[in-house]
Symmetry: C2
Subunit: 499 residues, 2 copies
């Protein structure tokens, strides 16, 4: 709690992102683990800090602009400061006519968040700052371990949004991610995904032929806070790590059972349960036995792996970790497959880089151990969000069914923004397959429906300008960026400034 | 409009269903078409009239009961009349304490509709009054015509709810039906269905092996009213038959395009566009050419088929109709497959029985040419509803996205019931696969969510007792009946009288 207040004070004071991580520096510290990829860490940190700084400059910049609001040249002053500090101009209609009434700083704030998001998304899709040079290598590795897909459901908490690309260091396009509050993924939705994947194998041999003896791997990621377990753990499970793990496991088992019961011919899947300490990004992996049984008490912790191998030469990293996982595996009644052991060793090795990332740039513990998201995301999509604490993301198709997740998001932003008179910026998103006729129109209609439902659910916040929305769609059949299709900040006359 | 008022007056006066169809009689008239299956017609009519009579007895019975409301032995009198007229007792808590305030006749009305529905559903699933002795025969026939599945999307209008079992005389378990307002079926939902079917062929050889050169057949059914085209046509398309046909065709084409674009290896589907005159149940089928092209102007009308073959011996029925369809087919630039011609001929032959059904029992035109539904159905399911004008059905997962369909339903029931002080009875339904762990609990939660959303959307009607709900789930992995899980009429103390 104290941490969060410190972080909030920092944001209020306009402190740059870098300064929040004590001991932060652009160069990797000496003394890091031999397996750690320092270059990659530096690149990832540069991207993370650049991105978050862009969001965190908004508030101090607008505070400065606000001091000019009674001057006759307010629009000119505002644009000058915005250009200088934010790198873009503000929409004219929000600066005009400010002598009879003060400028709508809430609208300006939301507009700047949305504009910054749009620029962030464009950078992501056009410059691909997080792309791996050999995306295909992981898929080959995965198949060599006996799996044709890795489908990950983390908790929707913003502190897990970087799980794929940062925490596990996997190519984000090679792993399916679908986030749910408490990692409580939807079984029916997952069954659809399973069918989709299996049909592609049968019909198209993608990613491999259906005859290949590989399996569908479903992972769930729960989380806890090592330093403040009772308050900064998973809200969906009362901040209780044991319960979070138990429920995620039980959902995994439900999914496997659903596949086994719904399809004949020995249909099944493999399961993986992963826990993450959101303070340090260290993971622990619960080893499944040969029959897929998972014991909540038995896991390999990345911290343990880190310590056990910190004097091993980097070239022996894979073997050393495999040996370690093997020893854990041999203690199980039925030893898991060699492929499963290799995959887990790889995930641990990858995570060691992330453990050092947090050690190097954040002194081993994030400054923002609690919620510190910059905006709420709602709907379907957000592939570009691969950063920690950038977005509280509610994966949903309607507010009606996702009401719980939406309410949690608004509650978080009541603490972060609304209590301070700033709006909760909500980006409503619907990705679509451009090769399906009419899909774009339907995606837009769905965004609008979500926007209206959100407004209906929070009429007071909406009326007071304490909740603003941006409607965004994206054609996932192409590698293009997002498209802004509406929102609460449309200019008079319908011109859309975010286009 | 006049027809509807007559029908309403009949319902008000408590006229039995039979009396609404002028010239109605239990025995088939002489002079019917030689292809008509008179026995089947008699059986279907007995089921239809028996079912609807049960619903239509409710209002006059409650009117009679209401006359006893000031008598000291009101509960006993009410039960006596209910037992005698409806065949069941009323819930005690709705009859008690009626001296300080009159009995809640609205609640009693809704309760009786729900109880009648429950009995109707039990009969359907336990006694199978509409089951065909040889359900498998149609599937074999379909495959011999070159199709492995027939997936039909009619309009959600209650006057099309009998399309499968009555109008087309097909086994309801062998045809997929998914109703949408204006037959505007969801392309993404249909893609999922397509994938499901194809995966079952690949993995399980069900209904046939993926290697078999059969196709997925998607049919859309639009409707119009021959006697009152401007008012009793499809509300979703402004009662304009041409527009209804055009839009249904365009949605079919979108679906085909979506399959072709989303899947490689020559994936495609075949299309069928069917129109129905809701006055007489006569269909018209638009012939697709060899390339799947459909011309809105070119169709074979069942009435034409009826006249052209009325002197042909029944044993030559199939050939005669095939010849007739063939002649139409030859006029197309690219003649459709022989299998398509055979299938269309079969549908026309089946429809001839239905044309005579309406001629025999309703003098060729239904007494209720307009809306005359007995209740609103909302959600996923309702396989048991295979009767005309029994249910206005809104297929939806949330009120938020299905708001338009829900509003139309409430509007219809404002005319039918609310304007007369009677509630709109809404049955909220979610079918689930019992072999998927947790599916029943999720189905119940979805019903409750829908019930709440409906109440939120119509707060005044709900508060006044002019909208009542019954929450129902069904395990479609078993051939069991429905299960009542809640609703607005739960007894004090939570006892559920519909269990």
């Amino acid at each position: 709690m104290q941490q969060r207040q410190q972080a909030l004070r920092a944001r209020r004071a306009g402190a740059a992102y870098r300064q929040r991580g004590a001991g932060a520096t652009a160069a990797p510290s000496p003394g890091q683990h031999p397996f750690t990829r320092g270059d990659e860490n530096a690149r990832l940190f540069a991207y993370e800090s650049r991105t978050k700084e862009a969001f965190d400059r908004i508030e101090p910049t607008l505070r400065e602009i606000a001091t000019y609001q009674y001057q006759s040249d307010f629009p000119a002053q505002a644009q000058r400061i915005a250009r200088q500090e934010l790198g873009f101009e503000l929409p004219g209609h929000l600066l005009d006519h400010t002598w009879p009434a003060p400028p709508d700083m809430r609208a300006l704030y939301a507009w700047c968040v949305f504009e910054t998001f749009k620029r962030f998304a464009d950078t992501f899709y056009l410059e691909k700052p997080l792309a791996e040079p050999q995306d295909g290598e992981f898929q080959n590795f995965l198949e060599s371990c006996g799996f044709h897909i890795m489908d990950v459901s983390p908790c929707a908490d913003g502190r897990l949004a970087h799980i794929v690309r940062y925490v596990l260091r996997l190519p984000y396009r090679a792993v399916r991610r679908r986030s749910y509050a408490g990692a409580m993924f939807d079984v029916e939705d997952s069954l659809q995904k399973w069918m989709e994947v299996e049909l592609a194998r049968h019909r198209e041999g993608v990613p491999n032929q259906a005859g290949e003896p590989t399996r569908y791997l479903k992972a769930a990621v729960y989380h806890y806070s090592r330093s403040d377990p009772d308050r900064e753990g998973c809200a969906a499970h009362g901040s209780d790590a044991d319960i979070a793990a138990l429920r995620a496991l039980s959902r995994l088992q439900d999914f496997r059972q659903a596949v086994e019961n719904s399809f004949c011919c020995g249909a099944s899947i493999d399961l993986l349960l992963i826990g993450i300490d959101t303070d340090s990004d260290a993971i622990r992996i619960h080893l499944p036995d040969a029959h897929g049984g998972i014991d909540l008490e038995r896991y390999v912790d990345a911290r343990e792996a880190y310590e056990a191998t910190r004097h091993v030469a980097a070239r022996d990293a894979a073997q050393a970790l495999q040996r370690m996982v093997s020893e854990h595996a041999q203690a199980l009644e039925a030893e898991p497959s060699e492929g499963m052991v290799r995959l887990i060793a790889r995930l641990l090795m990858n995570n060691i880089s992330q453990v050092d990332y947090v050690r190097t740039y954040f002194n081993g513990r994030y400054g923002d151990v609690g919620h510190f998201e910059r905006f709420i995301g709602m709907g379907i999509g957000f592939e570009e969000v691969q950063l920690r604490n950038l977005t509280y993301f509610a994966y949903l198709t309607t507010v009606e069914q996702g009401a719980k997740d939406v309410d949690v998001g608004l509650k978080i932003f009541t603490g972060l923004n609304i209590a301070r008179g700033l709006p909760a910026p909500v980006i409503i998103r619907y990705d679509y397959h451009g090769n399906v006729p009419g899909a774009r129109d339907r995606a837009i209609a769905r965004c609008e429906c979500l926007g209206q439902a959100l407004k209906d659910r929070f009429p007071q916040e909406s009326a007071k300008g304490l909740l603003h929305t941006l409607l965004v769609v994206r054609n996932i059949s192409e590698q293009s960026s997002i498209e802004v299709v509406g929102g609460s900040l449309e200019a008079p006359g319908g011109r859309e400034d975010h286009q």
